[in-house]
Symmetry: C2
DNA sequence: CCAAAAGTGTTAGACCTACACCCATGA
DNA sequence: TCATGGGTGTAGGTCTAACACTTTTGG
């Protein structure tokens, strides 16, 4: 059984090509139906889909998510959605906010509990999602046509990410395991939407003692090869708990 | 009509007697019924009450809130609950998190969208609430017996308040319109759970230029009378938007 | 040898911490 | 005149902001 009036949606952030991106999909109603309703009625969702042509259109995109099953914990189900769609466990996931205006979804009343996730796109194969007609990355400031209030949800998730990143060392989840300082700096630049001074940035990061020199370097680059770093899990956990000042 | 599976609850914080307190109530099932169900079924709520003796007990307390009506915006309804119970509009109110574990409420599946509110108890008359058998302030670390997962909700709201207060000038909502620097310092001390250095605290606050000297003083105190301050709404709004560093 | 990005140090000012005494008031 | 809490300044250390040139690599 599912709750007709509650959905769980994930704003999945990824950092590709030096841009901050969001993963959106077009769910396939028939596959969705199969996934959701082995045991029960599908009428409400069908109605929503019938009433909102955008849901069937190839021009409109939505957040990855579904209605909440009655026998699933809320947070646990958000995690499950991510596992199914990205193929990965242990993704950084955080509840953003619950959206519940009366008219946010036409022709029906649905509350959406929104989450954001940070993933490193290198590690994921999005072809995996068994429920999607299409799945695609979009630059955060070049969203396509979206259904319902997805723009607002993404905007609020981004706002939350921006706040979070200033006080907790979560940006790293968006990077590959080994990364250069320039990548890290660019990541913070796109999240915060401003340019940072390279020398000051490096000093600040290195004072945190969060980074571990892997003794490796980039290869096949047409310029001086940058050192690759990973980060220290112990210090990461400490900073995550205590907070840090990353107002840069 | 109400949603049987969604409730909206407020963790109302107040600062009295130099303590941080939470307002809890014992709802009166019959009055609640009247308030909620002019038009509709009450069966589910009745069932919940029947199945959970704590709800009728005089020993157990709950968060102020009710089920969400189908014709109310989520955030708007939280505001309305506050208006009804505190008699005041324009209370500082913020969504905390949605709680949705399967077993958080025995014998039924209810998601709770939790909010926290900051009020200045001087301004409120809690006798007003038309739905309560009893309403009472409890010190944050001396909660009574509570129903369901109220302890966890309060703990998370407090955690959020603690974070928030470090980066936004929201503490002022807990104080009377005119307050002394010592009151302000004590407020931060109880929220953050640590002692602060008076001289450094005052310097920091005064550098923000948020405070306005009212040119008034305490009266009838058996010691040097403290100056009374209020705060500057323009600077408040600016700091609220831009954030501030209040890690003290 | 050229283009492209990596990498590095210093200085001036702001901010933070730690710390101890006198002041004003009512009882 | 006493008890109580209000109110203040300084020095040393740390953090921040601004700023330009040399190094390494592949093509």
């Amino acid at each position: 059984m599912i709750f007709k009036n509650i959905s769980v949606d994930c704003v999945i952030f990824g950092f590709n090509d030096n841009k901050l991106n969001v993963l959106l999909w077009q769910a396939d109603p028939e596959l969705l139906q199969e996934f959701l309703t082995k045991e029960e009625e599908y009428e409400q969702i069908k109605m929503i889909i019938e009433e909102n042509p955008a849901l069937k259109s190839d021009d409109f995109w939505g957040l990855i998510g579904t209605h909440l099953p009655t026998n699933e914990d809320l947070n646990g189900y958000a995690k499950k959605i991510l596992q199914i769609t990205t193929g990965l466990e242990n993704v950084y996931l955080k509840q953003v906010e619950t959206f519940g205006d009366i008219n946010r979804v036409p022709f029906s009343r649905i509350l959406t509990v929104a989450y954001y996730a940070l993933i490193n796109p290198d590690n994921h194969d999005f072809k995996l999602s068994p429920l999607a007609k299409a799945v695609k990355w979009f630059e955060i400031d070049k969203l396509p046509n979206v259904i319902f209030d997805v723009k607002e949800i993404v905007a609020n998730a981004l706002k939350k990410l921006r706040e979070e990143v200033q006080y907790h060392p979560i940006g790293f989840h968006l990077l590959p395991e080994k990364f250069t300082l320039t990548q890290l700096q660019t990541l913070y630049e796109v999240i915060l939407g401003k340019n940072l001074d390279t020398r000051n940035f490096r000093k600040k990061i290195q004072n945190m003692e969060l980074l571990v020199d892997t003794n490796e370097k980039q290869t096949n680059v047409a310029h001086r090869a940058a050192k690759l770093y990973s980060f220290d899990v112990n210090i990461y956990n400490k900073l995550k708990k205590e907070g840090l000042n990353f107002r840069i």
